[in-house]
């Protein structure tokens, strides 16, 4: 009886320890299936998108491929397949929590509200809200937007930040902020003079300007009025998988590969975005490169 009691106690202690470490199902699934499933977006240029050849690619994807490699080493697998699944805002959370995808590599801002549903890895990209305007528009910051029309993509953190900024600075926009479906349509609103400025993450704005028919016509202006740190997303309660991910990111930074990946996609990158590595992002890399 006493032995049984001790055994039960030991078992429950073990369970408790297990619960504390929160080793999640993701690593087990990767070990069993010898596959890492990466969720990506179709047109988040140049972070996560479909190239001319129809394959997923981008800055976030390259980082995730390195994380997958790290998982292979950690689990001492003889082989590891990579599967790509295209996600939309409707399916990403259901598929991540159902275990259909192991990691989501796109361009999402790490927010507290979102962390209720999923976990973010350490920040691998930094951006923030700015405005895209015509060079000759005379708009230099959001205070110049009196009587003008502002467009944003529905549901983005930028839209929220812009609303706060407009209220704070007492800017009188013409009507409400126009909310559209995606970046392309926001750009179209600018090109057709339906709107005077488009608020989004500066990386998006530089990308749109460089892909437009006449890049010289456009200009990204204003001080940042929100900071948007991007991170890869994994299911909650997966401390072992998260550790593998964050350690892989640290190693990429220490070996200098992270900067190389950045240069590959942004300086000027296949989409000619030409966004040099900022001091802020460089500093962020130093901060998240935690000691072993």
């Amino acid at each position: 009886m006493k032995a049984l009691f001790t055994a039960a106690f030991a078992a429950s202690a073990l369970l408790a320890a297990g619960a504390m470490a929160q080793d999640g199902p993701t690593m087990k699934r990767i070990a069993e299936t010898k596959t890492v499933t990466i969720g990506h977006r179709d047109a988040s240029v140049p972070l996560s998108y479909i190239g001319q050849d129809g394959k997923a690619q981008g800055y976030s994807i390259d980082i995730c491929l390195k994380i997958a490699e790290a998982a292979k080493e950690e689990l001492k697998l003889d082989k590891l397949d990579i599967k790509f699944v295209s996600l939309t805002p409707q399916t990403r959370i259901p598929l991540l929590t159902a275990g259909t995808v192991d990691i989501i590599c796109e361009s999402s801002t790490h927010t507290l509200g979102r962390s209720r549903q999923i976990s973010f890895l350490n920040t691998t990209f930094l951006t923030g809200s700015k405005l895209l305007v015509r060079k000759n528009s005379g708009i230099k910051r959001i205070e110049d937007m009196n009587g003008k029309i502002l467009v944003a993509v529905l549901g983005t953190t930028n839209e929220k930040a812009a609303q706060v900024e407009v209220d704070k600075k007492g800017v009188k926009l013409k009507g409400d902020i126009v909310k559209v479906k995606d970046h392309t349509q926001a750009m179209l609103n600018l090109e057709q003079n339906r709107a005077d400025a488009y608020v989004s993450d500066d990386v998006v704005l530089y990308g749109l300007a460089s892909a437009s028919k006449n890049p010289a016509e456009w200009e990204v202006v204003g001080p940042y009025f929100s900071y948007d740190p991007y991170g890869m997303m994994i299911a909650r309660n997966n401390d072992d998988w998260r550790l593998v991910g964050n350690r892989a990111i640290t190693k990429l930074i220490e070996s200098g590969e992270m900067v190389a990946i950045y240069k590959k996609w942004f300086e000027p990158g296949p989409t000619k975005i030409n966004l040099p590595l900022s001091d802020r992002l460089r500093e962020n890399f130093q901060i998240i490169a935690l000691p072993e």
Binding site: D42, I50, Q52, S86, T88, H183, T184, M187, A211
Partner: protein, 219 residues
Amino acid sequence: MFAGFDFDVLIKSLPFLWLGMQLTLQLTVLAVGGGLILGTVLAVIRLSPIKPLSMAVAAYVNFLRSMPLILVIFWFYTLIPRVTGTSVSSFYSVLIAFIMFEAAYYSEIIRAGISSVRRGQISAALALGLTPPQAMRYVVLPQAVRNMIPVLLTQSIIMLQDTSLVYVVGLRDFLTSAEIVAGRDNRPIELYLTVALVFLVVCFSASRLVNLMRRRYSL
């Protein structure tokens, strides 16, 4: 604005768009075929005198008709892995969703077609010694089908266009592929006008073809 029309983008992405078109056509053919078969069965059951059966079918049809297709696809795709524990490929998941959804619509069209046949015809068929299924098969359905063809065609064209909703589960049909290119290369006007034109040509040809057949077989 048409002066700056960028044909280069279209030509470069042609292989990618063609891949999407193949998925669109494949899905449409399979879903229209499956939907017609299931839809006919549902319509016949619904008109049958066995009350519990016809009521069950009515509930099914009304439930599916009241959901937007995009949500049907979404729920099928995200709930199947949770319920069965295995993940179905996204293609089969949307194919099943499409067949079940289209069947609900086809059955309503077929029901309207059958209802438009005069009751005297059935009485006559039964009086001639045909069994009720025979009367359905040889007397009612041929006439009903003739009345229904234009509407069935419209519904099938809608189905062809609705394949664009598969983007929700990450599949890439023709329209979705065009949207991806439009987003990546920032050429929305070029891509959307191309989509409009291609669908107009494809669907118009299909409807001419059906009309021709209708006349040839004097349905």
